[in-house]
């Protein structure tokens, strides 16, 4: 019974992080109709920045004070800042051109960010395991489970709720949705589309960065985590459907569960099992379960 609970918690943990990344990707696509190939790198950038910031403050102190947990989201802010810089400079010039160019430029960005992170932080992983252990662990039946994982699940849930409220209950959310449904009409009604775009992009990057920030105590920041995350986020979006936050949530949950099952029963090919699921969904419903192409 407790093993089942642990499996469920692990799935939720994974789903939380994936929701943040995939949700960001889907939000950006939903509003701007662009796919940012470097989205995973923003997640990585968030992870690295948070790990570095916490590491600097922590120094060699073995234990973590509660304030450090508050510092953790700095990665999200950094990723958001980077996004706010990138959209007007690299993406805006290409909106009128064929889609290939956006993909090419964001792919170029992926290459740049990969090496930039290596340049800044070196080829070895950064770790902040002190924060991970700092919250201790709970007993679940006969096993112990890290409390930090529960914190991540809570953050993930809060992010989902907060995002939903933001998109469906605020004025900005209305503008966001209007622009995503009909950009020309929104513009004709006086919406500053350029501003909405950069705001949406920044928000999407913030989410990705937050995903990286909250996961880094558990996993550390390592080179290559960006593209890997992009691919997983993509699987989530394939399953849940592009441009839909609810879809990203459902997709994240499904991928979380399948991955947990995969790791337990088919550890060698867990990635392939995920793709099999994505492939099946693609075959049956090319737009995803809740998608709108």
């Amino acid at each position: 019974m407790d093993t089942l609970l642990i499996h469920i918690l692990n799935s939720l943990l994974y789903a939380s992080v994936l929701f943040l990344i995939a949700g960001g990707l889907s939000l950006i696509y939903g509003v701007m109709r662009i796919v940012n190939m470097a989205h995973g790198n923003l997640y990585a950038f968030g992870a690295y920045t948070s790990a570095w910031a916490v590491g600097r403050v922590l120094g060699n102190a073995p234990s973590a004070s509660p304030a450090l947990y508050a510092l953790l989201p700095v990665g999200a802010v950094a990723a958001a800042g980077l996004g706010a810089l990138l959209e007007p400079t690299l993406l805006r010039p290409l909106y009128k051109r064929a889609e290939e160019y956006q993909l090419l430029i964001t792919f170029g960005l992926l290459l740049i960010l990969e090496d930039l992170m290596r340049l800044i932080w070196g080829p070895y992983p950064l770790s902040v395991s002190a924060l991970y252990e700092g919250l201790g662990s709970l007993s679940i039946g006969e096993s112990i489970y890290p409390t930090y994982n529960l914190a991540v699940i809570v953050v993930g849930g809060a992010a989902a709720a907060g995002l939903w409220a933001f998109v469906y209950r605020t004025q900005f959310g209305v503008v966001l949705r209007a622009t995503s449904q009909n950009m020309r009409m929104a513009s004709a009604l006086g919406v500053n589309v350029n501003r909405v775009y950069v705001q949406a992009f920044t928000l999407g990057c913030f989410m990705a960065g937050l995903g990286g920030a909250i996961v880094v105590p558990q996993q550390g920041a390592v080179l290559g985590m960006g593209p890997d995350a992009l691919i997983l986020a993509f699987v989530v979006v394939v399953i849940g459907g592009l441009g839909s936050l609810e879809g990203a949530l459902i997709g994240a949950l499904m991928v979380g569960v399948v991955r947990e099952l995969g790791i337990t029963f088919f550890p060698e090919i867990e990635l392939a099992v995920l793709y099999l699921m994505a492939a099946i969904v693609l075959l049956i419903r090319p737009a995803g379960l809740l998608g709108r192409a």
């Binding site: 090419l104 792919f107 992926l110 740049i112 090496d115 593209p227 691919i231 699987v235 979006v237 693609l282």
Partner: protein
Amino acid sequence: MNAFPAPPRRVTITALLALLALLLVPFAVPPYQTVLLSYGLVFAIAALGFNLLLGYTGLLSFGHSAYFGVGAYAVAFIVKYLKIESMEVFIVGGILASALVAALFGFLCVRYIRIFFGILTLALSQVLWSLTYKFFWYTGGSDGLRVPTPHLLGGAIRMATGAAEDKLGFLSHSYYYYVLAFFVICVAVMWVIVHSPFGKALQAIRDNETRAEFVGVQVWRYRWVAFVISGVFTGLAGALWVPLNGLTTPDIMHWTFSGEMVFFTVLGGFQTFFGPVIGAIVFNYLKTFAVGYTVYWQMFLGVVLVVLVLVLPSGIVGTANRLALRLRRAPAT
């Protein structure tokens, strides 16, 4: 885009001159340079395949390393399990294997909307990479599989001995001409394909898939066929590459190599036929030169790619064409 496309006669003359130069290379440069050029020609064949999808069908794949790798590993498996060392068998094996994988992956990828096609191809190729990496008892894992130098034309042409100078001599002469022959055949076949009614249908799909559908072209079916042809050209390149390298490792299935293919195609100019060929050859020299200088090779590629997209989207050949057109028109004023 030019209002009036370049006349074919100029292209034919340039191509023939280039072919003549290529034929004379082993007599003009040291063996090491010839082998280096062979790598360039191999990547050029891969680029031809890649650009059938990008330039002519409008599909940007970030996972073409999969087919190159499948072609290469097919060769390695033929050596490992069938104990055959005939280049012709390698070629057939490479083509069949890459056709199969491209057919399967293509079936999944072309059904999805265009803008996510790129990540989907990336994802599938990463699955293949991870499988190649993990199933090391078949694939040799990260160590890869060694492949001895094959014999050509059913054994008629082979290395004299296994000695290093003999191998270099073989690769820089007999094997170079073998690769060159395939390069010429591939260029000719691809030229016909893109100028065929099928090729026009692909371009129509690229330009306006709705209208293509309304003209009676079944879009996803044609995309699938283009995908398979593209994969086969790239797989053939992979098969030709292995004897040059002597070894195949999972690295060539990794997305970074896919990225290089994207890069050299865009560098050369993906809106022209010969652009990707030139881009691949230039890139090969660029990489050989730069990898010795910096470990931040990826960043360099990324920066150049960004600059290309913003400033020189038609690449080397495209920009050269534009300049030539402007020069031709200038006297009229």
